[in-house]
């Protein structure tokens, strides 16, 4: 059970400052939800935590793993489900999960992959190319990765987009179980109603600054 600690993290794209001195601690079992307008830096923060972007200033520790210096190691414990599905259209759901399993060096046999596909309701389409799937089906398949990867830190960028009501309930169930097992969740969302059933800590990103929602209301 390891916490996530972000200390004084700042980031800029060229001259544009996106994040200023962001400090956040997420305890095991906690779900930190980032709210904020478009372009407020939510996705940038998630990309930094996923080690997709290089940390320019500040530091970030996942347990005792420094994300800045040990990115390859940290990525073993992190799964990011973002705007893009990261799926290959010519591969079937089964093949996409097989690809994910081997790229992320996850110990999961074919039965576990089939179970994950069944759990997201894509069993009838398990061997069809993903290219023809709807956005919701692709989202479900990308979420199926959570079930086989068992990460320590789960990063979700707008996870409810393209999901129907059943999909939203299913996802909240998965996140709830993940929290119960001591997992860390950082989520960017525009849907407070859909997040509501989850035990979570809301944060607000504005002008590159991260504030707790109560603080931001006070401002």
């Amino acid at each position: 059970m390891t916490p996530l600690q972000i200390l004084d993290m700042a980031h800029r794209f060229g001259r544009r400052i996106v994040l200023r001195r962001v400090t956040l601690r997420v305890e095991p079992g906690e779900c930190a939800v980032l709210y904020g307008a478009n372009g407020s830096g939510k996705s940038t923060l998630l990309s930094l935590l996923a080690t997709r972007l290089r940390i320019q200033q500040g530091s970030c520790l996942l347990g005792d793993v420094n994300l800045q210096t040990h990115g390859d190691l940290a990525r073993r414990y992190i799964v990011l489900i973002g705007h893009h599905s990261h799926l290959y259209g010519h591969l079937s759901p089964m093949e996409n999960l097989l690809f994910f399993r081997d790229m992320h060096q996850v110990a999961a046999d074919m039965d576990a992959l089939a179970d994950a596909i069944g759990a997201v309701g894509l069993e009838p389409f398990a061997h069809q190319p993903v290219r023809w799937f709807s956005a919701g089906m692709k989202k479900r398949l990308s979420l199926a990765r959570l079930l086989i990867a068992r990460p320590r830190l789960l990063l979700l960028d707008e996870p409810y987009s393209a999901l129907d009501q059943d999909g939203v309930s299913w996802l909240n169930g998965v996140i709830h179980r993940f929290q119960h097992q001591g997992g860390l969740v950082v989520m960017a969302s525009h849907d407070p109603e859909k997040v509501q059933p989850l035990r979570h800590t809301p944060w607000h990103l504005h002008g590159g600054l991260l504030q707790s929602v109560t603080e931001s209301h006070r401002c």
């Binding site: 290959y88 010519h90 591969l91 097989l98 790229m103 992320h104 060096q105």
Partner: protein, 221 residues
């Protein structure tokens, strides 16, 4: 890590066979180039034997460039390149996976290209075919290593295929010269030794050592 490299290459080869895209384009292009050369030169067998190394290597270069232009095509869909970069792997491993997939497709074309050239040009050096294939294999290793790196560099450019060819041609010229010269010596003496072969091996080692490092540097944001 080896499993990840294999899986990445497998994904690219499977994609190609399902869509019959790169491999078939490369093969038909190679056949077309050889047919044009044959029709243009109409060489007698002795002259053809002299021309074969140059013809083979220029065809290999053209077909490889064609394949390299599509190396990162699958990664453009659904942000798949970002997905690859989120894997807990050194960037070099991702490079080797992409390189291996491209190498397999290129080598499949090469294995068909050599007998086809000998038949078309009526050159009876069938005993040398394994050595010719080995030389093409060695040359293609370095060529595709550099090519995959340059394809990664140019993947976001609008006219990336032109840019790729412009960057690749001067950089692989020494490797191609070494390939042509070592093939000449194989055909003339039947032995697979000599300074040109050493040079070919040196280029392979240099490209395969530097390209993964360059790829990692390119992918950092």
């Amino acid at each position: 890590m080896l499993k990840a490299i294999y899986r990445l290459a497998w994904k690219d080869v499977i994609a190609d066979f399902r869509h019959r895209s790169t491999f078939s384009s490369m093969l038909f292009f190679a056949i077309a180039v050889l047919l044009v050369f044959q029709a243009a030169f109409e060489p007698d067998p002795q002259e053809a034997q002299r021309l074969v190394p140059g013809l083979l290597w220029s065809t290999v270069l053209f077909t490889t460039i064609l394949g390299l232009g599509r190396v990162f095509q699958a990664e453009e869909e659904n942000g798949a390149l970002e997905g690859l970069l989120l894997a807990p792997l050194p960037r070099g491993a991702i490079f080797f996976g992409k390189w291996l997939g491209n190498l397999v497709l290129s080598l499949l074309v090469m294995t068909m290209l050599v007998p086809l050239t000998l038949v078309l040009f009526n050159v009876t050096i069938w005993g040398h075919v394994p050595m010719l294939l080995l030389l093409l294999f060695l040359g293609t290793m370095g060529l595709t290593a550099l090519g995959v790196l340059l394809a990664a560099m140019t993947q976001t450019a609008r006219s990336r295929e032109t840019l790729l060819a412009l960057l690749l041609l001067p950089l692989v010229a020494p490797l191609l010269i070494a390939g042509v010269q070592s093939m000449n010596s194989v055909i003339a003496s039947g032995s697979l030794t000599g300074p040109w072969l050493n040079l070919l091996l040196i280029f392979d080692v240099v490209y395969l050592a530097l390209a993964p490092w360059g790829f990692g540097w390119l992918m950092e944001e």
